[in-house]
Symmetry: D2
Subunit: 416 residues, 4 copies
């Protein structure tokens, strides 16, 4: 069984390698292919991944290549972890929305749309090669943000794709800690859209323990999501990305003094590259945990196992709505706890309330328009998507953001 | 046939009287009862209404009373035109949201919620008496803002109610003028929620002429709705209330220098009272047209005719959704062009796009929570409704607005 | 020797009474007259003040009257502590500027101007009676905010007036605590305008210990003035009122959720009145300290002693500039540490830097225009003063604030 | 007589050449040297300047060089027209302040400080060579923005420098037009700081005609300066740069949708270079007038004449204050109408009012700190200057702007 990692030259790949290594037997991994246009990075990351897998006792073949076709050929799973335009584009995504008084962030709002517009055409091109060359029935697992929109674009084009986010696994670990239980004992009612989710229930031994958790740990949970407890007094815990909505202006204020996250990650990555150069290194360094993406490796490996073995495990994934949220179109891509067996079936979770539903519907409408803008192009479609976004919503902002998005992103927009 | 006007002491009543008078025969009006707690106002308005109806040749009985029961007894139609708290409360509705940087307006946003919270308990109390005392099958026709939420509260309590707004009739007249046609030749595809509607089609002789209208009169229509044409480049024309959404911050800026609309109306009303004192006056004065509510009388009379005769006329009304907009709950109250015959059936209108749907879903969620807050009371429910409103949406704003809404409105909030 | 307290019916007066009582012999107080238009309040406060003074062993005559002339007749010192319009006006001062996005506060910005416009005409009227009836050479000591502008108006009209603020004495106590010294060992270089002052030096035994204090207690001082230490890294410590300037938007954000200070004080005062009703009470209750005005009594008594005995004590007072700050006009009223002997002479303090000077010059210009607006009246003058204020400075804000200031304050503006 | 133009490769130089050519005899110009680090630009501009001067009948020597020393050697006048960092830096100056909600502009606010920090070290380096190599008594005439701060830095370093702005000459032409007089008949009372000036009087035949002008042409003047007439109802007409102060937030709103001025100028310059390539061209093209800097050439030539001949002509120049504005330090550089003869003496102009004085004092304090930051360097000094700027003034904005200014400008800041 072969796994291909597109964007495999990322500083993040050693994290994945730890997961592959530890589960190589269980997953039956024979081969790992790292694909990246950056040959130099592959020359560092490739051998490191091989050493990490060896440390875990796996003798799977590890190869690296700048040739997409060679990389995905015969793969059963293709992981997408791209960053079109690199950290430089991220720094722009974080900066230009602030000029219009809107949150600058790489997955939410105008910055997230900029990333979607750059990424989707590239992801679709890769998926076409996967369809042609990968193993029959191969899955594309998307980690690349904005995961919901990228997954939707892939599904719309007829690919066999599923999106994965690490928000849910983070909550699972955190709640398990508060409950004094093992993570695998805790099953979440996780529902919404990617980066716009709520935990509406927390199942332990079949019982919903969320009300008790909130009673006992209200303040810790409020700290965790960086929002006052009043925001989840209705018993539904927002992910910390909801901070960009419920505390938008405060966040804008913070960003006005704070150093950009993109610049910070760029600094961390520079350090990581230095560490990676040590050709005796055979484990991920501690510093990697500061780069973001905690638990991603574990979530990914667990999902891959369910996809390959159809074991019916529950994962928080991005899939078609198909009526699960009746207020959204069937074709919308939602993020839910779902059982991954012969089929992928959302678990019967406690529902969102009207307050969440309104916001989810508004963002889903934006995502629909955003995917159209990415696939079909055109300034007009960018404007429509931004005007639909609840964090924009005003014609002058939509106009100013559209102009800036295109001016800063032009090099990566095929139609601009 | 008896019509009761609750809030009949309003300066606006002479406008209605013109409509009643001109259509007294067609509607079969035998009796008009004006009900108002303000006896002094009734002493001025009552005789004036009688003189207006006489001028039109109607000899219907015109009476006025501070006794609600007497007024609604035996009525076939009860019109609600209340202003709980008077212009003073309106001035507060316009002022306190501005303290939080939110639009100050009496139907939209926090000001609209304040009005709903004051008005719904009063409207429900009136409706209880109507149920008891009015003619069997009597209709409550609600003009009182926010019309959508008041209508929803009445329907939730099991009353036979329908809401009416003058936005659609205004567009009908305006479009008819641009087309060189009579207003009755023009049928609108009018769809959304009260004060959150779009014209998605304009039917003349069964053909949709909206695309042509937009081509030829784009700039005039943009002026009319006070928004750039880009906002309706998708072929759906927003009502001017959408200005509060698509140009929210610009509107806030304007309100910071502009005199309040409430103060302006108070000034106009003071002048109207002086004019009304002339006991030979037998027609509405020109000044009344500056007070707002243009064409309301015509829309109301036409709707009353259809309600009484089941003639199948098309009116823009507020009714239960019942699946018409599949992304909203069945119990939501929507505003649509509907055929009013034996049943009330929305006409098959061109649909809203994703951009409008997202906003409609978000505001519908707010309205659901707002009606709950009005009916059941409590600071917590006010906060939830405000947090759900797309023009608020942030926890600190919701908190600050909640505190101010309660502080300024306390005298009219039964639970505060 | 007679002291008159105009506004003597205030809940604050017991604080003063403690000071009068403790220093009755030293000051030679024979008589204390409380003057207030509110007879009912005087009936409570008057006897309480008498009991407090008796507790201190003073048998000075304590009388109370609604008759200004009787109250000030023969007084050697007249203290002004007015609140024209009461707490209700204060609540307005705190609310209306927020509608324009400006800080709402009763001494700074548009709220402070509103208070000045209401207060100065009243203060001038009182001062005219003092000139006529008080003892020869009597001093008017102004506590009434905005102290700088009220004092300037009194001086411009030829009265013998001096203004007093409690910011300096607060710093003196605080610094003394940090230094482990008695307050009277600590002399401040206190310089600027009322509520716009900096401590530029702290003298102990003739040596400036401020640099050391800042080194050792930087964070405590930052907490005290609620500003980051970067703001005083140049060695000049701003008063906490500078928070309204250096953290204006943060303060506006805070005010959007916070309960108004005026409402809070109104609540405290309601409690105080209940406590004061106990006719055995003979000391100020602890709750009084929450009302604001800490140490005012001590500062006032100390200043009065120097005014009466010409003992050369150093006090932070509001006096004519007369060249002390060369970048301000001679007639400006500044707040400085000054030696009060035969003359009142500012002490030779470490100077402000360019950063402070620019702000002081801008606010002094505003104060000059604000006093003109108060004395001569007219919308135009109000607009000019607001446009000059560094926290307003924009034509649309000045226009909107002018309209609101006049609309809310009309009852107390003789010219409106 | 030799004139050197440093930054002579600018697209603007042909404008100057027209002025040199037309006045070559009157000024006695023997030689014009264009100095620029961009050899390619000089190869285009140099011959064009020569052709323009020939067209005017001048046979002065025109040379061009990348060697500063050769260029300034023996010059009697050295004009500075630099743009350190080019249009790219300007685009940054316009963008980064917007991220903090502050006006983005290359001469005012944080953008202006960024330009000052880049430019002053370069200007000082050039001036050192001028001192060494130019003719005895040579003048440095600075056009480079921010003119006030650059001139101050040059004077502080002991250079013989004077600053020139085109605002005054623009007003002179405009007022002359309104009055139906020749420009040279109109003498302005022009007073303030560079880009922060007011016309306090307009002299024609020795009489101040400004009051009449304002009565008759109020609306045209309001349009001209893009501010409501209320702002100059006190009879002092602000320059259009005051728009950034009196309408700051409106301007920020505008900039959020508007294309950046820097991008626009870059586009115009690209077109100009195409036109300039025509080696028969011997006059400035019309397009040049859209690039900004109208009348600069005339103002410059007129000033140069007065500097060379000491003819006592009146020019609006940037010079030391030396007591002219008593509320500013003597060393401040102010912009005033001054008689340029044996000495340079400000003309006795109608004074600024308190409203203007406060703002001028605040900006002068910023400029003093800004020049220190440019000359001595350091993040701390940048922060102090920004905190002193009336358009910043808040600690979090100063912090965020400082970080951004340094991040975007690092390549041109010798100390960063």
């Amino acid at each position: 069984m072969k796994i291909a990692v597109v964007g495999g030259g990322s500083t993040y790949t050693p994290e994945l390698a730890e997961g592959f290594g530890a589960n190589a037997v269980a997953l039956g991994i024979d081969e790992v292919a790292l694909v990246d246009p950056a040959a130099k990075k592959l020359e560092v990351i490739g051998p490191l991944v091989r050493r990490i897998m060896r440390r875990h006792g796996s003798d799977a073949k590890v190869e690296w290549t700048t040739d997409l076709d060679r990389g995905v050929e015969g793969a059963a799973i293709v992981l997408l972890q791209l960053r079109v335009g690199g950290q430089r584009a991220r720094i722009e995504d974080e900066a230009f929305p602030l000029e219009c008084g809107c949150v600058g962030q790489e997955t939410t709002g105008a910055g997230g749309l900029a990333k979607a517009l750059r990424t989707i055409p590239v992801a679709l091109g890769i998926a076409d090669r996967v369809r042609e060359l990968a193993a029959p029935g191969a899955w594309i697992v998307d980690f690349t943000n904005p995961v919901g929109m990228v997954t939707r674009a892939l599904l719309d084009a007829g690919h066999r794709a599923i999106g994965l986010c690490n928000v849910a696994i983070g909550f699972q670990r955190r709640f398990a800690g508060l409950l004094g239980r093992a993570p695998e004992d805790v099953v979440l009612d996780h529902v919404g859209l990617n980066h716009l989710t709520w935990e509406t229930g927390v199942r332990v031994d079949g019982r919903d323990v969320l009300p008790g958790l909130l009673d006992e740990h209200r303040d810790e949970i409020a700290d965790e999501v960086d929002l006052p407890a009043a925001v989840f007094a209705d018993g539904r815990v927002p992910s910390y990305y909801l901070h960009y909505f419920y505390a938008h202006d405060t966040e804008v204020e913070r960003l006005r003094t704070a150093p950009s996250r993109g610049r910070e990650v760029a600094r961390i990555e520079a350090e990581l590259w230095k560490i990676y150069e040590d050709d005796t290194l055979d484990r991920k360094p501690d510093l990697l945990s500061q780069r973001g993406g905690a638990y991603y490796s574990e979530a990914a490996v667990a999902l891959m196992r369910s996809l390959l073995t159809r074991d019916g495990g529950v994962h928080a994934v991005n899939v078609r709505n198909r009526g699960f949220l009746p207020y959204l179109p069937d074709e919308a891509v939602i993020e839910v706890s779902a059982r991954v067996g012969a089929d992928i079936t959302p678990v019967d979770a406690a529902p969102l309330g009207p307050r969440q539903r309104g916001l989810v519907a508004a963002v889903a409408a934006y995502e629909e328009l955003g995917v159209q803008a990415a696939v079909r192009g055109g300034e007009r479609r960018v404007y429509e998507a931004l005007l639909a976004h609840p964090l924009v919503g005003q014609h002058d902002l939509a106009e100013g953001l559209t102009a800036r998005l295109i001016a800063t992103g032009r090099d990566h927009l095929p139609w601009a």
